[in-house]
Symmetry: C2
Subunit: 387 residues, 2 copies
Amino acid sequence: MTDLVEDAQQTEIDSSPPFDLGVVDDTPEVAVDLGRLQANIARAASAAEAHGIGLRPHVKTHKMPQIAALQMRAGAVGIQVAKLGEAEVFAAAGVPDIFIGYPLVGPRKVARLIYLLEHSDATISIATDSIEAARPIAAAAVAAGLRVPLLIEIDTGLRRLGVQPHQALNLARDLAELDGIELAGLFTHEGHVYTHARSFEEKRAMTRAACAAVADTAEAIRAEGIPLATVSVGSSGTFRFAVECENVTEIRPGTYVFNDFTQVLQGAATQADLAAFVVATVVGRPEATRAVIDAGSKVLTSDRLIVSHPETTFGSVAGYPGAAVTRLSEEHGLLELPPDTDMQVGDRVAIIPNHICPVINLTDSVSIIADGVFSERWSVAARGRVQ
Amino acid sequence: MTDLVEDAQQTEIDSSPPFDLGVVDDTPEVAVDLGRLQANIARAASAAEAHGIGLRPHVKTHKMPQIAALQMRAGAVGIQVAKLGEAEVFAAAGVPDIFIGYPLVGPRKVARLIYLLEHSDATISIATDSIEAARPIAAAAVAAGLRVPLLIEIDTGLRRLGVQPHQALNLARDLAELDGIELAGLFTHEGHVYTHARSFEEKRAMTRAACAAVADTAEAIRAEGIPLATVSVGSSGTFRFAVECENVTEIRPGTYVFNDFTQVLQGAATQADLAAFVVATVVGRPEATRAVIDAGSKVLTSDRLIVSHPETTFGSVAGYPGAAVTRLSEEHGLLELPPDTDMQVGDRVAIIPNHICPVINLTDSVSIIADGVFSERWSVAARGRVQ
């Protein structure tokens, strides 16, 4: 993962999955190649270890306790979740350290957080970017006799949530005065690199700038006598650059466990790193250059590519260069094919989604394929946990 | 629904939902207004009855047996489902007549169909557009001593599945020779009207042309001595035109139970017909004209508008004219707001999704609101049943 260079970047998935598509019982079905999954987990773990940086995988990609367990066993310092409902699932599954990288707003969320803290052995840290959101949590924690570790979100260019770096010191001062919380660190998600940077060099430079913005802000806060241990960055697309950042203690990629068409086009993975496939059946062949498969937007999602690419499609067809999912209805995927493509009604194809994370969130379970053979079914235990 | 004219078409949702947003326990949450749901069901049922046409709602929109029961009680002749997995759920829930409007391809699907036919009291009819897909079903039905009602899909312009009208007679002849199946009718989904027609008159003309194509094809097949009872068309956007079609026996709208931003922009519903809302909480207010809500693509989907509209967004904000969901991450929705909008962190907002069907498919259950009060929780029993 860290040794990829711009030259390795692919724009088509011309190889087939490492298993026969007949291995799954019925379609559409998400099939995960266990060997590739384990290789992806091991490679990221080694890279983080080699650079002396903590790896905290974002489990919103897979939502499966089995995969979190593989990640923890490979040396992860803990996991990140997107929502409190996901934290509840992974805490119940025994993950010892969970960072909820999302503001918890509203009395019901605060009550659920306190309940989770009281009924779980896990260390649970949370995100904030405002004193308004932090105050009710601090008050509830004091009432419960708890102290909640809290990380400030820094906006390094994504323009989503987070304070600007220059605003962080003031927020840190305000937070430091609150009982019931412990200022544990700063974090950013440098997702803007996906869309704002084109070349390998631009991506590296933009990632380094994001790291530096957070690390420098942390240093400025520490200089005021406010202790702050964690400086956390991360995304799968920037992982190879972020592990090399100075003064960053933690990195939080998610998609790297499976990878997807976006990661390949980013140059952050090769097609040999693709571990999750949507196996579909051809149900119609209305024209020589057109086929219809049984996977539509209720399987593949409507996510477009978020990287610049000449043709924006809904996914790539593994092993069929020049083919793509060009139109989706809810249960129909329309493939455009090169002329003379040999594809019949009843054939199975493997789709590489643009973005694997929301695809996993659409299915109750996935088929695990080990050495080309169906091994078992893993439940997507935190699927749909958006509250 | 049938008395709408082009002049009634709205391009903004400037009214709020008919209930206080504090009525749901936590967010993001899909809240359904029971009064509006019942009114939508009753209005479509009356229109179909007034025109002497059978109403067969497509339940892929709601995936809830409770709503199918309301539709049947209002006089529906049966339901349509998109996938065999949905048929299994609704048959188990006691719906007496189910049309699976999708080709069943592959030995596993055929085996499941036969099992369902043998273990259910429901009348189950299926779709096909090729003799290749029909043959294995016919053979399995013969072996089981069954006869499966089958409808031929006609492509009237959507260019998805279905034979062209001029090909249907040949397919009907081939199908009539197969034991184990009974040629029950023809059907089309005139979804191309959403994207290909602009004005009220264009939409009406294009819908009538689709109806006529199917009705004329049915007549040509009957003229060959092949009996054929059902001529079925439908979509929610074309419902008001299709009920007036000559020689059509059945109509199959889906979205009309809830409606959505697309239906309003189509002029097929007014904002007073919106029955489903995504209630979200404001979790960030980074700029005067920007807010972040806790509903992202894992709640709202990434579905863009499929009707022409100056600005393509991911949803409308009820009661906030000029506001829209302009960007989505998986768990973040970014709202663009007019200057001076009064919206604070912790406030709740109601989003009108572009397309409600895949939104419902993302949630395990919905909150039912009756007369402004939380009534109960309905499980989306057929959610995720894509196989």
